[in-house]
């Protein structure tokens, strides 16, 4: 049983081992880049859009609306980052239906790399929108006592991002493999369909969480952009930017109200 595609060695060149994770990542990247390059080859105003271009536009505009609902400011740059994360994870999770292809997100190396890129992107977006001083001031926001806890929450955020995606995709593969030895033909297919659903949801959640983290780092530094909005739409970003601690506070306050 393979827990991770890191153990599958595809090629051995001059003492360097090329494992299935790297090869499958390259396949996913080549598919993404190749398909979008072929579709947007004739991107001119005089060429009427064909069905492929329309499909691509539907995907991109869906990602754009989802991200614009969460982060109001600098949504375009966040969209390049989070949309790429979503497309990569979604495609690699979708390709698990192909026999012999183990999705690269089933390896902890890939998910850790994606989570680290999110961890690096959060300060970058925060500094780009509000400057270094304003970003660093966010760490001592309620008081200086909270400094270590803010740093710990930053690190645990990245770990949970990586392990969540890895655990979900890996569990689908492992359960399918176990069922294949017990009850072949029917149940593995059902579990694979469930794995497709879980993979899409996890890709969505990864991109949404990255957007929420980035917009929580940038939104604090630009209060003027939010205060310009009417008060009705102001509630929406604050509701979607809730952190896990606020969730638990909400549920506990609900409990008190009920009892």
């Amino acid at each position: 049983m393979q827990l991770t595609p890191d153990d599958i060695i595809v090629l051995r060149l001059w003492g360097l081992e090329l494992n299935a994770t790297i090869v499958n990542t390259w396949i996913v990247m080549a598919l993404l880049v190749g398909i979008s390059m072929i579709i947007t080859r004739n991107l001119r105003p005089d060429v009427p859009p064909n069905r492929w271009r329309t499909a691509l536009e539907v995907i991109v505009s869906a990602i754009q609306t989802q991200i614009e609902e969460i982060s109001r400011n600098s949504a375009r740059h966040v969209m390049y980052f989070a949309g790429t994360l979503f497309l990569f994870i979604a495609l690699s999770n979708l390709l698990l239906v192909i026999p012999g292809f183990s999705p690269p997100t089933a390896s902890l190396s890939t998910t850790a790399a994606l989570a680290i890129s999110v961890l690096v992107a959060v300060p970058l977006f925060g500094i780009a929108s509000g400057g270094v001083g304003r970003y660093l001031k966010g760490y001592i926001e309620p008081s200086v006592v909270m400094l270590p806890f803010n740093i710990i929450s930053e690190i645990s955020r990245g770990i949970s991002l990586a392990i969540r995606l890895y655990g979900n995709v890996m569990s689908g593969a492992v359960i399918a493999a176990i069922l294949l030895s017990i009850a072949p033909f029917f149940f593995p297919v059902v579990m694979n369909i469930l794995g497709l659903l879980t993979g899409m949801i996890q890709a969505y959640i990864f991109a949404i969480l990255a957007t929420v983290y980035i917009s929580s780092a940038t939104a604090e530094s630009e209060p003027s952009a939010l205060s310009k909005e009417p008060s009705v739409s102001q509630k929406e970003p604050s509701a979607s930017q809730q952190k896990p601690s606020e969730f638990s506070q909400n549920t506990s306050s609900n409990k008190e109200r009920k009892s």
């Binding site: 049983m1 827990l3 989802q66 609902e69 969460i70 949970s160 392990i163 969540r164 890895y166 655990g167 979900n168 890996m170 569990s171 492992v174 949801i201 996890q202 969505y204 959640i205 949404i208 969480l209 929420v212 929406e236 509701a239 979607s240 809730q242 896990p244 969730f247 549920t251 609900n254």
Partner: protein
């Protein structure tokens, strides 16, 4: 019982307990979250997109503890470090 058998038995037992106990809390929590979100959606159907997105994100947060337990159980069964260490030691020693 040899040392390998003891380690195997305890690992399998612990893996079962890990996933059994570790899934109780997230299951209850997800049930509460879904019930609260559905009640909120029934009261305010206009806010359904925002609510469902928040529900997805919070579900992922709640579920991640169960996923950690699953990963630990999988490591105990398929990639047990003590088992591997003892096996290599027995190969080297004997």
């Amino acid at each position: 019982m040899t040392e390998l058998t003891i380690i195997a038995a305890i690992s399998i037992f612990t893996a079962g307990f890990t996933i059994a106990i570790g899934s109780i809390g997230p299951a209850l929590g997800e049930g509460r979250a879904a019930a609260a979100a559905i009640a909120a959606m029934a009261q305010q159907p206009d806010a359904a997109p925002t609510l469902s997105r928040t529900l997805f994100v919070s579900m992922a947060m709640i579920e991640s503890t169960a996923i950690y337990c699953f990963v630990v159980a999988m490591i105990l069964i398929f990639a047990n470090p003590f088992w591997d260490a003892l096996q290599t030691a027995s190969v080297v020693g004997g």
